[in-house]
Symmetry: C2
Subunit: 334 residues, 2 copies
């Protein structure tokens, strides 16, 4: 591959001049610029990022550490962030923690040796986030205690309240919660907000109606299996993310329950698939576009040395048909 040396030689100028001409980083006569550009084109020259990084101490690359790429919520976030970064000619190295703290550590080590300019992390609960000191860091979707990094997240309190209010309005009083892992802030916040909202309506759930999952589909199954065997059975189940909702849904189906009639199933987190389910699922939609853009912008600020703060993005209730009222016992029909 051609180096800047080759380009300079072909253009008949020095390496220094070639560099300035290509980057516009210093004085260079229009003629020279043209000459160097042409030489670079002819040779198919592409700057060597490793060499540039070594010299400039920047990589024009950021790290994105997700907890699960296969969760559409996160893959959509990755999409938005990658798009925004590409517009700035910044590359994104996406890694996966698979909801595991050891993977998170490994990924962070790897990102550190890459000397990425900054990091957007969806942190694993229960782990201390070991990031090289001085490395710009933005937390996405979840917070971690004691970290000074800005946090970009949905308004979990609002979203939870919207859904609980909706359910109660429909007449539900026996509402079960499949919470996210309580080691994660989003899991905690959503559960707490749901409980507070329920409390406000005077319908505190039975303890056995609160089950902790891990944001993955399997745990939705397991939780539903436990929940649906209780007597009395709850009339509605609110799952803490889209994957667990899917788990709950298929477990309920397997038991022959008609969703939306025998029992309501709803989800925090919307999904493009929800409108097509049987029946279409009511959900609290997160504004993925805003979340991703805010995270990228926050990181960009940090990298540029500007201060940056937390962002809370509002949620929106999307009512579909997975919680019609027919399942509700008469006592509440008043």
């Amino acid at each position: 591959m051609a180096t800047i040396r080759d380009v300079a030689a072909r253009a008949g100028v020095s390496v220094a001049t070639a560099s300035r001409a290509l980057n516009g980083s210093g004085p260079a006569s229009p003629g020279t610029v043209e000459l160097v550009r042409r030489a670079a084109d002819d040779l198919g020259y592409r700057v060597n990022k490793a060499a540039r990084s070594l010299r400039t101490q920047r990589t024009d690359t950021i790290g994105l550490l997700l907890s699960d790429v296969r969760n559409p919520f996160f893959s959509d976030l990755a999409y938005v962030i990658e798009q925004a970064a590409a517009a700035d000619h910044v590359s994104v190295i996406t890694m996966n923690a698979d909801e595991r703290t050891d993977r998170q550590e490994a990924a962070l080590r790897s990102l550190a040796t890459q000397r990425v300019d900054g990091l957007i992390v969806v942190p694993q609960g229960g782990a201390t986030l070991e990031v090289p000191t001085g490395m710009p860091l933005v937390l996405l979707d979840r917070r971690v205690d004691g970290s000074p990094a800005p946090v970009i997240q949905s308004d979990n309190e609002l979203g939870s309240r919207q859904m609980i209010d909706h359910l109660v309005e429909l007449g539900h009083r026996d509402i079960a919660l499949v919470a996210g892992p309580q080691s994660s802030s989003s899991g905690r916040e959503r559960l707490a907000a749901c409980l507070a909202a329920l409390e406000g309506h005077g319908c505190t759930p039975r303890p056995e109606w609160i089950v902790e999952g891990d944001f993955q589909e399997r745990s939705g199954h397991v939780a539903a299996a436990a929940l649906l065997d209780t007597t009395p059975r709850p009339t509605a189940v609110f799952a803490g993310d889209n994957l667990m909702a899917v788990g709950v849904l298929s477990e309920a189906r397997k038991r022959g329950l008609r969703i939306g009639e025998d029992i309501a199933v709803v989800s925090f987190d919307d999904s493009r698939w929800f409108p097509l389910l049987d029946p279409p699922m009511t959900a609290v939609a997160q504004d993925v576009e805003s979340l991703g853009l805010a995270a990228y912008r926050a990181l960009k600020d940090l990298v540029a040395g500007r201060p940056s703060g937390d962002v809370v993005v509002p949620t929106r209730l999307v009512v579909r048909r997975s919680c019609t009222t027919s399942s509700i016992p008469a006592r509440r029909s008043a």
Copy 2:
């Protein structure tokens, strides 16, 4: 951040020795190794990849160019490939072409300046794939004419035949096809195989029953809109990927058609969501794990200078309930 110089100083050895000790790349006494290791640990030393790459001409990074991360088929592939690479301490830079050729070009340019060790690409149809000469390259899911790069893909011929045979066996004879873009090899192969299979059964479809989409959800809507207005109406629609199937499904629903009763809708490409749809969708499942691993292994071979060849991964028909027989006219009940 500590450099190897600092480590060497702290361990009281030369830089050269420190490097050898840390990498095991040359002779070093056990005592020295221990000493250097400890010094590195104390300092929290992480090798600077840019510097290493500059010297070694390797980056231990590969590029993965996808056509659409938000398509679960591809995000699952990304997951598998990233996992496999991580086990080798290889990083993956994932980029998105968004099914657009200009984005593909931009991404390839960017990947070239990163000097990735190799490239796994899901190529856009209709574009010539400009990859730096000598750069190891593996094509995934789709082939491109004239490229000598190994191709890893599902057995489109088998999958198409499995599905057509199944439909015909159920009594369908009026089968419509929402094909993938004919600029992509997978789109072409699947359509050709479907037509051949239909021919074999003596039921060549009417021209208006063959519609070309672009693998995205919207085009499924559009195709279905056209298809469902024809008279006679086809009794079954076979979509070329999971996203277009979703589009067809929701369009059909919007028109009040009962899927699996009034009309059958099936898909090339399975999805974790398909079992939950209304009704659960019959699909040709691709073996994503095998595809991803094969692609990574092929690239690894190429990077190591070993030859590598095409891989065709078998598909599997997953029968659910989106194509029961009630929609089929009597003429075929014999």
